[in-house]
Amino acid sequence: MLMKYLFGKNEDIPPGTASIFFSFSAIVWFIIGTGLGSFNAAKLAYPDWVTGFEFFAFGKMRQVHVMAVIFGWISMAFAAAMMYITPALGNTKLWSEKLGLWSCMNWNIGLAVGLFTLWMGMTSGREYSDFIYPIDLILLFAVLIPVSLNVWMTIAKRRTQGIYTTNWFFAASLFMLMIVLLVGNLPEYFHLTGLTEAYLTWWNAHNILGLWITPVAAAIAYYTIPKITGNPLYSHRIGHLHFWSIVIFYSTPAAHHLMSAPLPEWLKSFASVEGVLILVPAIAFVSNILLTLQGKWNMFVENIEVRFTVTGVLLAIPLNMQGGFQQTRSINWYIHGTGWIVAHAHLALLGFSTFIEVAAVYYGLQVLMKRKLYSLALANFHFWMLLIGFSIYWIAMTIAGLIQGAGKIYEVPYIDIVIAEHPYMIARWFGGTLVFLGNCVWLYNMWMTAREGTPVPAGRMVHELAYER
């Protein structure tokens, strides 16, 4: 079937096919990514578990987990959402389903090759830009540019008058990600060295999160909440504020990742002030979504997609309160380089962003396949596995980080910190494993939805039928 579509005429491909392929790919990468995470966490608790194999060493697998979840799960779920939401908001079809399917295939192959090379130890030695640059270039030209072209052309060919908030974010974030990947990998193309290399590495890491993951996840919530609740967005002006403050404030604090490195002091101070200003887009986004829910808070309990999305939005509150202040000098000296940061990164990617994307994949797949969810009970189970697993992880790592921070400032022998952290490493493994198991259930549920889900009658919306038999 895939071959028929890849080499067939664009008109013969049913609308939504690209998004469906992207959604299932994303779920599979989510399982792979969280599985690797669980495996790595086990090694931090029990270092001699699976020993004697070079390629199962922690140092060879840690980056594979990170890249799999960011560029497999999160970014593919974004692509799935874009290929479904952009045409829906433009009252049109995706510009090219065929191009979308080709991008999906290139993405899966390119990412698999990239993760394999990383696993073999072929790394640039830079966090978040670990891929060797030939892989970066393949992902840029064979994946990111085709996906962007598809989204931009769909917006250009829309049959509505204005462009809705979600689509500004989609269009701008794709462009900004291109710039970020191009500039962020300059140290590799041109062999830049020294502090320039260190700074650009973190400029890239910061902006992948700030100009790609955060705004696109928020953009999805701007679609799903008004669509499913039926309430119009509370304020388009606050949406404007959110968009522009992301571009202006979130693109500038890269140096706050290197607060204790010997960078120029003006740069660190500037980054720190800009870092606090990230609260502007954050508060604009959270208040806008929560106020949109006025009168429909019952759906937070009753509707699985709303529950996932709003949980993600609520998790954005602690996320941004941490993010805004933990990078100031007065706090950063204590928690820099500790498990606190690991907890914060998971709050952003596994908390805020993942919960919103999971909702988008649930909703998009049901709408596009015109099938009701196979099992609401399994979806609820998935929700609680994700939330409980994540919470255990986050609490354990936050405590571990505070222990490390105290150990750092009181300069206790490092091995005592390792001993004190041990119970939290076990808790982290347990929490991560719950997330992994929940995702396996999710894949089964979505697969069965495709095979055996009750067809949704024309003219009805899936969330209206959630409780009908």
Partner: protein
């Protein structure tokens, strides 16, 4: 408007810091590091599988390589034929004002060629009334060849720290061991934080962000025992029962220093017996070959002073 906003942000966060960082002159440590580590310790087309190929050697020279007469011990950085030069040699501007002029005029670094190999020294000199460290191309100034210097130093005084950094990057040591004592409270335990000019020409810097283990920037000053390092890399639980570090026994390769096959399965079995109290002493850690990857890595770690 969108373009203006993004360009403004890029100007402040990319252009301005780049000019500022570019204007920082090298410290002597930065010269030492780039001459020790060579061109690039991450993936590059000359070393696709990060095996530590085309890397310089750092030797401690106690005699003149030409006459054989005993001299004051000096570190020399030997680039065998086709070893890649670091950025500071290829583009002296990277060294910063003062050091670049001295390195070219007095150090003659622009006469060095990768195809013929070269030997470098770190020196201090005066330029316009101020003192700067600079690089001397001893092949041009003194006629020292790579082979003669390696021969004069001998294997015991030769450090593969350059190849070792590649192994450090490939094995992901930096996911847990930072190379950045922080500017706050790390002095007493992990030593002084680095200065602005300590990094010119080094790539990747591999600061690390997630410290799950001791900082290593000055580890060679805290612990200079090769034997301790050997046991610790082969199985960290030999010297630190609570360590969560992975075993790096596979870096020994298939054979030990005497060419005997290393029986890993038997070693692990004996170690389990030792751990369970069935043996009084742990099994012996095999001596590594002088061209094994673990030799490179231990040389790198011991060189972190």
């Amino acid at each position: 408007m969108f373009g203006a906003a993004l360009s403004m942000s890029m100007f402040i966060t990319l252009v301005m810091p780049s000019f500022n960082i570019f204007s920082v002159g090298s410290t002597a440590l930065a010269l030492d590091k780039q001459l020790t580590y060579g061109f690039n310790s991450g993936w590059n087309p000359d070393d696709m599988f990060l095996s530590g190929a085309n890397k310089p050697l750092k030797v401690l020279l106690k005699q003149d390589p030409q006459t054989g007469a005993a001299t004051e011990p000096v570190h020399a950085y030997v680039f065998p034929v086709n070893a890649r030069f670091p950025s500071g040699i290829l583009h002296p501007k990277v060294l910063g004002a003062g050091s670049d002029v001295l390195s070219v005029e007095q150090g003659k670094i622009n006469e060095a060629s990768e195809a013929q190999g070269a030997v470098f020294l770190v020196r201090h000199g005066e330029h316009e009334g101020a003192s700067y460290p600079y690089i001397e191309n001893a092949t041009a100034t003194r006629g020292w060849t790579a082979d003669a210097v390696l021969h004069a130093a001998g294997d015991a005084n030769t450090s593969h720290a350059g190849a070792g950094k590649t192994i450090f990057v490939r094995e992901g040591c930096w996911w847990c061991h930072t190379l950045l004592p922080e500017q706050t409270q790390d002095f007493q335990y992990f030593g002084a934080p680095p200065y602005l000019g300590d990094f010119n020409g080094e790539s990747p810097t591999a600061f690390g962000s997630d410290r799950k283990a001791p900082d290593l920037l000055h580890v060679g000053s805290r612990n200079s025992s090769k034997e301790w390092m050997m046991m610790h890399f082969f199985n960290p639980r030999l010297v630190q029962p609570h360590s969560i570090m992975p075993r790096f026994d596979y870096l020994w390769g298939k054979t030990d220093a005497d060419g005997n096959k290393i029986d890993y399965a038997a070693w692990r079995k004996e170690f389990v017996q030792y751990r369970n109290g069935e043996r009084i002493t742990p099994p012996e850690v095999p001596n590594y070959r002088s061209d094994s990857e673990i030799r490179y890595l231990i040389d790198f770690v011991l060189n972190l002073k």
